[in-house]
Amino acid sequence: MPAIIFIHSGGKTSGGKTDRIDVSDGESAMQAATRHGLDGILAECGGNAMCATCHVYVDDGWLARLPAMADDEDALLDGAAAERTANSRLSCQIKITPELDGLVLRLPERQV
């Protein structure tokens, strides 16, 4: 079972905290995060690529290994609450495969 790592942003209580989360077959990074009750991923639309509240920053070393971004994801990221960077992705659009075992995702300061 692949696992991925979420690094929390520099908030008061959780700054720099790391969560390692197991991902079941076929799950997205967002689904795994919400299933584990991870703070920092809201996913208001439930993974339908409509809300931009599961924004993450992909760690540099992993960015090129992710599937390409679709147009709707690209457009939604422009509306994300936290700053958009070259590392921004929506975690609902990152389906976790065995090759992504160990993926590192940083959480933005806020999702709304």
């Binding site: 439930g46 339908n48 809300c51 709707d72 939604l76 422009d78 509306g79 709304v112």
Partner: protein, 406 residues
């Protein structure tokens, strides 16, 4: 309400037949015991009253919503099958459409109501919520439906759309008509359609380009015609979608949230302690009350779901409200908990047809609840709440309350 019989449909498991009428006033008054019956009877049930299949458990409702190829929308998302009956109005280009036709119109509305656009209107919506609370603090005792749940969206949404000031009194009756019309040919639907001519005429007029103020959502839809994304005949029908689905739904959503917070003072206190929970308190109210209770799909082929076999061309009624309280999916589903992780609820639907205006609804709900909770110490219900009956929408007609300033 009981499982009247379990007709053998050849090959197990038999689909239980129920004599439930999910469009009766008695059901609307208290749907929850019947939701239990529907969920417990089986993954798929058959409702003899209207000759339709029903799904009320979360897993099957979610599965139907997310398989638009098998469970299509173009044959109508109400009981009426557009392949067999003439729709009461020209079908919606987004709600009552399947891919690939749906994909293009959906993209247009997604962009008009995107997170980026919500950032732009946020301050305006929040200021209007503050103004509304000023008015309510002046009154102290008022009807939380008319003076709050209706008054607030009416103070911003028609302007955000770019509607003219005249004739706005048609907006809520029109929306009520649209949602009643998804139901069966019962009294609610018949009466709504019989009285619909003036409302329909008003709506048709407002959807035209020249009647929509520059910069509003309506004008933004028409601007996509110039980009070649939609045709000049499609644009008014897409504006109509916002007029049909953008107002009464948020009225019921905000009404549900206020009703929940007034009924459960511990949750109100929790929100006072942490007003950043306002957004989730609204979201949880959408799960808990499910302002949009049901929608239909039509099968495009024979399909097996939840172990049951359904033939081609059958209507399937999805009980969104029952799915949102399915104990198979939710911990303590009948508890309103503003800290609950609500992600995945189907109050806004799911899949490609998931509510395109969900971001507007959440924004309205969030700014309204946060304005209320920062300035009001207590909300008390002072009279019997009255329910408003509609074939699709769940909400109140009146909710007398008294507030105490913070």
């Amino acid at each position: 309400m009981s499982a009247a019989s379990s007709a053998s449909t050849g090959g197990p498991p038999a689909i239980p037949h129920l004599d439930v009428d999910p469009f009766a006033v008695a059901f609307f008054a208290d749907p929850f015991p019947t939701h239990d019956v529907l969920r417990d009877a089986g993954a798929v049930v058959y409702l003899d009253r209207w000759n339709v299949y029903g799904v009320a458990r979360y897993a099957e409702v979610h599965a139907v919503l997310n398989d638009p190829e098998t469970f299509c929308s173009s044959r109508g998302v109400g009981l009426s099958d557009f392949k067999k009956e003439k729709p009461w109005r020209p079908p919606s280009l987004i709600l009552e459409a399947d891919p690939p036709a749906h994909t293009r119109t959906r993209a247009v509305l997604s962009r008009v109501l995107s997170p980026t656009v919500m950032k732009q209107v946020r301050d305006r919506f929040a200021a209007a919520a503050e103004e509304r609370v000023d008015v309510l603090l002046g009154k102290r005792s008022f009807d939380a439906i008319a003076d709050l749940a209706e008054a607030y969206p009416l103070s911003i949404f028609p302007d955000a759309l770019g509607l003219r000031p005249e004739g706005r009194e048609h907006l809520i009756p029109y929306a009520s008509l649209v949602f009643n019309a998804f139901g069966p040919p019962n009294q609610l639907r018949q009466e709504a359609i019989e009285r619909s001519a003036p409302h329909q005429a008003y709506i048709a007029e407002q959807c035209q380009r020249e009647n929509l103020a520059p910069g509003g959502f309506g004008a933004c839809i028409h601007a996509r015609v110039d980009e070649g994304e939609i045709t000049a005949t499609e644009a008014p029908l897409l504006v109509r979608s916002l007029l049909s689905a953008g107002l009464d739904t948020t009225v019921n959503g905000i009404g549900a949230a206020v009703y929940c917070l007034a009924r459960f003072p511990d949750q109100w206190q929790r929100l006072r302690d942490d007003p950043t929970l306002a957004r989730n308190a609204f979201e949880e109210a959408v799960r808990f009350e499910s302002p949009v209770q049901t929608f239909f799909r039509t099968t495009t082929r024979e399909v097996e779901i939840g172990g049951a076999r359904i033939g081609e061309g059958e209507k399937v009624l999805m009980f969104l409200g029952a799915a949102n309280r399915d104990p198979r999916r939710w911990d303590k589903p009948d508890t309103y908990d503003i800290t609950r992780r609500t992600s995945g609820h189907v109050g806004f639907g799911s899949g490609i047809h998931m509510c395109v205006g969900q971001l507007v609804a959440r924004l309205e709900g969030e700014v309204m609840l946060s304005a209320l909770v920062r300035r009001i110490a207590k909300i008390e219900i002072t009279g019997e709440p009255k329910r408003r009956f509609n074939n699709t929408l769940r909400g109140l007609d009146s909710l007398p309350v008294t507030i105490t300033p913070a």
